[in-house]
Structures are given as C-alpha cells and as structure tokens.
C-alpha cells in the first residue's frame, strides 16, 4: 500500500536577502551570498524550496582570548585580521567572515573608529567573500564605530550590527545611507523581534535588508528557548507574517565556546571526556539544533566544528 504523505500548505515564505556586492553592484566582493527564500520547514525538500544555511567564521581586530583547543587549529594569523580571514575562507571553507571589532572596547584597547574602519578595509582586501561587521558591545562607542565603518565600506553591502531596541536608529541610518544590510537583535522575544523589524522598516530600510538575531543560547544553557522561539518565528513567517520573515543569524561560536563544557579539560572533569572532541561537538550540536528550526547564518569559531557542520549541511541539502 502506498502511504499518502502529509504536506503542509504555507502561504508565506522567508524573504530573500543578498549579502555583499560585486564590482557591478558597487562593491568589491568576488561573489555574493544569498540567504532565505525558504518556503518550507528546515530541510523538508518535499514541501518547498529550502535554501542552504551559510557559515560565517569569526575574526577579531585584536588577538582573541580563546581556549587553546581552538587557537591551535589556526596558523600564526591572530595579529593580522586579513590573514586570519583568509585562512578561514581558504582553509576552513567559511562562506562569510564575521568581523567583531573587539579592540574598540573603551575598557580594553579603546581603538578609534578610524582604526576600526581601517581593519574592515584590510579584511575586505584580503578576502572576496561578504563580511558581517559588529562593534565591541559598548553601545555608545559602537554608535561611532559603526558609522565610520559603514561609511568607509560604502556600497559593499556589509551585514552590520547589532541594532537593538534602544540603538537601532543609528544602525538603520548607516545601513540606508551607505547601502548595507542590518542585523536586528531581540532578546529571545518574538514580539520585540517583530516590533524592532517594524520600527526599522518604518525608518525606510526595506525588509530584504534586515536579518534577525534572536540572541540564542548555547547547548546546555537554554538552547531550548532559542529553539522554540525560532521554530515559532519560522512557522509565523511561513504563515505569511512578513515582519517575522527575515532570515535568522545565530552566534553559535560565541555561545558554545563560553560554556564550561567547551573549556574544561579532561583532567579537571574526567567524567566529560576529551576536551577537543567535546568542544567540537558542543559547537556543532548548538549549530545543528538551531539549523533544524531555521537558522540561516551560523557564526562559528572552531574549524573542526565548521567541517562537521558543513558536511551535515551537504547531507541535508542533498535529495
């Protein structure tokens, strides 16, 4: 007997967003990245179009304070953001570079907005893939940093962020004036997420220039909250709620690597086993869980985890 399979009929789909710009489009990228456009639940090809999630590997403007389980996989690149980005693309297969301008932190190196813009230019020159650029996390400083970066990279269609409820105006203006795309971040709350998208859109930034950051939690530390918020958002978008229909960005590498499970050695915690494989899987499974509920951009740090996740994506995309 043949079984009649159940196909959901959705009226909406995820909006398509293009990142980066080639020389014909006013930028200098050798290729662009298209995310979104999905008309089905994640990886259910029998139901409708499924777009491939992409991997953005993290690069900082100053050497990172990461665990050795990560740093030993990289070459001597941490003093050169350009070389670091190039290794991520050439050796590890990153689809995008996520450049975090940690050095701007007023409590740290307190680098000037001009210095930050110079680093962005350096990374743009070193790699041909599109860039995601975010500030240091100090909202006052980041206002200046992002304005300078957006201007210096006019026309490159960077994905800049992060715009929050309190700060979105500067970011949205910078994105509009200098032709970039924007990350809109809401703290695991579907209503704030929608509201922020509406506010940004009302300022004049088109919906296809916005990416949602639902502010995920890592595996073992509340990933289930992100999982359910994202699954609800995806279902809402497929149900034709246009203000939830943007592709989602997930800071997997950051969340997974600040857990004790990704840092504590087997000597310290014999019960948890070898740190290297544990850290790879902690990051990979954080990515996996969120890809199953609609993550479009996966930010990652651990090259070995990138390899595992890319292979999984290849499998999930092959029908």
């Amino acid at each position: 007997m043949s079984v009649a399979i159940v196909k959901e009929r959705f009226s909406g789909k995820i909006g398509e967003v293009i990142l980066g710009a080639t020389s014909e489009q006013g930028g200098t990228r050798t290729s662009t990245v298209t995310i979104g456009g999905d008309a089905a639940l994640p990886f259910l090809h029998f139901e409708g179009k499924v777009n491939r999630p992409v991997i953005a590997m993290e690069v900082n403007d100053i050497p990172p304070t990461w665990n050795e389980t990560l740093t030993k996989q990289y070459g001597d690149v941490f003093n050169s953001p350009g070389a670091w980005a190039k290794q991520c693309v050439d050796d590890f297969g990153a689809d995008l570079i996520y450049l975090k301008l940690t050095g701007a932190d007023p409590d740290g190196e307190n680098r000037s907005p001009e210095d930050c813009a110079r680093v962005v230019k350096e990374v743009l020159a070193a790699v041909g893939v599109p860039l995601i650029v975010v500030g240091c996390g100090d909202s006052t400083k980041d206002n200046e940093v992002i304005a300078a970066v957006a201007e210096a990279a006019t026309g490159e269609n960077l994905l800049i962020g992060v715009a929050e409820q309190e700060t979105y105006k500067t970011y949205a203006a910078a994105a509009m004036v200098h032709k970039h795309t924007l990350i809109a971040q809401s703290p695991l709350d579907i209503n704030i997420c929608k509201q922020l998208n509406i506010l940004i859109n009302e300022m004049g930034l088109p919906l296809n220039k916005i990416v949602i950051d639902p502010l995920i939690a890592g595996l073992g530390f509340g990933i289930e909250y992100a999982y359910s918020i994202m699954e609800r958002a995806r279902l809402g978008a497929l149900g034709n709620d246009k203000m939830l229909a943007m592709p989602m960005f997930c800071s997997v590498g950051y969340e997974a690597n600040r857990t004790k499970e990704s840092n504590s050695s087997a000597d310290e915690n014999p019960q948890w086993g070898d740190l290297d494989d544990r850290a790879v899987l902690w990051e990979s499974l954080t990515a996996s869980g969120l890809m199953q509920v609609g993550a479009s951009i996966i930010m990652m740090r651990n090259p070995a985890a990138v390899k595992v996740v890319k292979k999984n994506i290849d499998e999930l995309m092959s029908v």
Binding site: L235, K260, G273, V308, L316
Partner: protein, 441 residues
C-alpha cells in the same frame, strides 16, 4: 479517522460520576478527543463502547516500555512549544558479537561509564544493543548473556535470524529486552518470539510504503508491542521520513504508524555520527542506536536531548537557600544570583573554579535570568535584602560585603542604603567571575 467529542460522548455511560477525574462525561469526551485522557480511567464504559472508542481514545503514538525503565513514544505534538515532548530520546550503544570477548567487555565497561553530571543534572545512557554481526547463533546468545550479566542497562537484541534471536532472548526474557529486527521475510517468526516472551519487537522496512505494509501484516498476527525502524539512509531522507511518521500519527491519527520510531545511524566517523544523531533528536526519533561510546561524544548529545525535552511551561529552578561552595567560613565571600537553574549553575561552576570557598544565594525570581528578572521588577534591592535576612546571612557572616551581578549595578546605592552592607558589583557574565575573584581581598 478520529472521533469528535460529541461522537465519543454518545458511547459513554453519561453517569457524570466524576470518577475519571473530570466532572462530567461530556468534558471527559472532549478530553478524549483531544488525546488528553485515557478511556481506562472510566470504570463504567461497556466493552462494546470500549471497542468502538479504542481508536479515538488511544494516544496517537503508543508508549512502548522495555528493559530497565525505558519508555519510548507517547508523544502528542509536532512542536515542543505546542505543549511539550514527554519521553526523552532513548540512547542505545551497540556492541557487535563479532568482537572478541575482551573487546566486548572493554566496550561494555566504556558504556557503563557513560554517566554525566552537569548543571545539577545527571545523564545516563539508557541501553546496550547486542548485534548479531557474526552470523553465528551460539556466539550471539553468548555475547547477549555476557552483556546482560555486565550491565543493568536496558537491552536491545538485534538479529535477522529468528533462531538466533529465539536462543538469545529466552534466558533474558525477564530483562524485557527490545528485540529485532522483524522484516518482510522473517516477521512471522520474529513477532511470535516477541509475543511468546512478552517483549516489544522492532519492525524494519526501507521506506514508508514498505513499512506500512509490514506493520499491517504484523498487527494481523495479534500483537501490538512494536517499534518502527524506517531503515538507515541519508540524513535528508531520514529527516523527511521521521517527519512523515510523526505527522501521520499525530495529525492524521494514522494508527499503522502510531508507534515509537528507532533509528540506526549511518555514519562511521564518530563526530559525523553524533551530528547525524542530533538531527534525529530534534526531529522525531524515540530511540537512536549509536556506535561511538566515548564520553566526549555522548555528553553533547545527552545535553541536547535533555534540553529539548524540558517542559517549556516550567522554567527549571533551584531552591532559594544559602549554598556553600567549598569549605566556607564566616569570612567567605557572598554572591547573589537568581534561581533560574541555568543562571545559578553557571555561577556555581565559575565560583567553584575560583577555588575560593564562597556562599551563593539564588534569589527567587521565579526561574528567570538576571536581566529578565530585573526588567520584570523581581530583582529589587528590597527583595535581595529581605532574602539575605530570611536566610540568616547577617548572623552567619562576619563581614558585610555582598557581590551582585554586573547587570544590576543600578541597585547598588539602594541596596547599600537599606542594608548598610558594602555592595560590590560583580561581572555581568558568570565567565568573568574567576578574574573578578582575583581582585577580591
């Protein structure tokens, strides 16, 4: 096809006795229709009515129990935000009978060692599968017996040779193993072994059409304790099949597929295998059989399934009390956090890493994190001071210094004023505690 509440009501005794726990028969009928009640709780239903109602009253996915307390199935929703997922994916590690005796005992020792403690929770791997890869019935029975003797975990016995299964199961029937696999060729013999020993049976066929045929033939043998195996295949197609099995049973009440689903992984490389398994933990496997048994590989997978099966309506909380970390004295530092368990255990882990004996108070914020609690007015300085007094802190400590989370630095002045204590602003993230503690005198 599912019955409506009113159709069910017509079949009930209409006594409104309330003995089922619902005040009226009509309300009970509605609960049955929604899959939220079981007909067995009605003491007065007639046998004729019971038969009519069976398909409407049974849960959409049957609960199958085996081994040492393992329960699979009995799920009622597609998405955890619709209600919750009930029975965590059963994780089973396989042992081949083609291994030598020494290799079997080494593998078993490794499996028995898969016990993990993290954030106040304990995770254990539930089961061991003995797989008849040797093709030798006597060897299979011997390894099954050795594994059974060497572990208290639930057992799964896998062979497509009914004679081998029969010999291995008989002496172990009291352990209530899950057995398999019954396929199109051997199902009569294998299902009968299950029936004779009262143990559940895995029905395996490649693809949904073949599986549906097999289930119908197996049910016709008069047995109902089944677990479905849709065959091992590429991850994308497996995800599609698992989704269909869940959808057909939940949304269409398609009884043929109303059983838990077990999946055997495809990958040999352990990292890829765990990644593959994580897809099935998210999407609809009731049990997964793995090859790897390394701690570093299992812990992340166990964490994922535990996370996704928590009840979304109940934030996990820790008790509001004074926790002593290490050999505390009246001079030990005092940290304040919230009673959301993830927040508390992140802080506890880091405080432990400082190697400075310390006290921690998780203030009752109804299971919310620091920022959420503060935004909701549940983390006011008055409440913090009240909690400190209630727990007798002023009598226990000789000093008057309290460390508060960096995210609520704004309460410093007020807390100082009402308590008279010196308020120290700690880091925003628990990951900053070790560095912060070095600055304490």
């Amino acid at each position: 096809m599912a019955l409506t509440g009113l159709e069910i009501y017509k079949q009930l005794p209409k006594k409104n006795c309330g003995e089922c726990g619902v005040p009226t028969c009509l309300a009970f009928a509605m609960a049955l229709a929604a899959g939220k009640a079981a007909l067995d709780t009605c003491p007065y239903v007639t046998d004729a009515a019971r038969e009519n109602l069976e398909s409407a009253s049974a849960p959409p996915i049957k609960a199958i129990k085996f081994g040492n307390g393992s329960v699979m199935g009995d799920e009622t929703v597609m998405y955890r935000h619709d209600k919750t997922f009930y029975h965590e994916t059963t994780i089973i590690i396989q042992v081949s009978d083609a291994l030598t005796d020494d290799e079997v005992s080494a593998k078993l020792a490794e499996i028995n060692g898969l016990e993990f403690d993290r954030v106040g929770l304990h995770y254990s791997v539930e089961g061991v599968a003995v797989v008849n890869e040797s093709g030798d019935a006597a060897r299979f029975a011997k390894v099954a017996a050795a594994v059974a003797a060497g572990t208290e975990k639930s057992l799964l016995l896998i062979s497509n040779n009914p004679e081998a299964l029969k010999a291995a199961v008989a002496p172990l029937a009291a352990r209530k193993p899950l057995i398999g696999e019954a396929n199109a060729d051997n199902y009569e013999a294998v299902v009968n072994i299950g029936k004779e020993n009262s143990v559940p049976v895995i029905l395996k066929a490649d693809g949904l059409d073949a599986l549906s045929d097999l289930v119908e033939k197996a049910v016709a043998l008069g047995y109902k304790e089944f677990v479905l195996d849709p065959g091992t295949k590429g991850t994308a197609q497996q995800l599609a099949d698992l989704t269909q099995l869940r959808r057909l049973s939940i949304k269409k009440k398609f009884r043929t597929f109303g059983y838990p689903v077990i999946v055997f992984t495809n990958h040999e490389n352990p990292l890829d295998e765990i990644m593959e398994a994580s897809v099935y933990v998210c999407k609809y496997a009731s049990a997964i059989v793995l090859k790897t048994s390394a701690k570093a590989h299992l812990l992340p997978l166990m964490a994922l399934k535990q996370n996704l099966y928590t009840d979304p309506q109940k934030p996990i909380q820790v008790e509001e009390k004074l926790y002593a970390i290490g050999e505390v004295t009246e001079d030990s530092p005092l940290y304040i956090t919230t009673n959301f368990s993830l927040t508390y255990y992140s802080v506890e882990g880091e405080v432990e890493s400082t190697k400075i004996p310390s006290y921690i108070i998780p203030v009752n914020t109804e299971g919310t994190s620091v920022l959420t609690a503060y935004a909701a007015g549940k983390y006011e300085p008055e409440l913090i001071w009240e909690t400190m007094q209630k727990l007798g802190v002023p009598d226990i400590l000789k000093h008057k210094n309290v460390i508060i989370p960096g995210y609520v630095a704004v309460v410093t002045a007020k807390l100082k004023e009402i308590s008279g204590w010196n308020v120290i602003v700690g880091p925003r993230e628990s990951s900053g505690i070790v560095a912060f503690a070095k600055t304490l005198k």
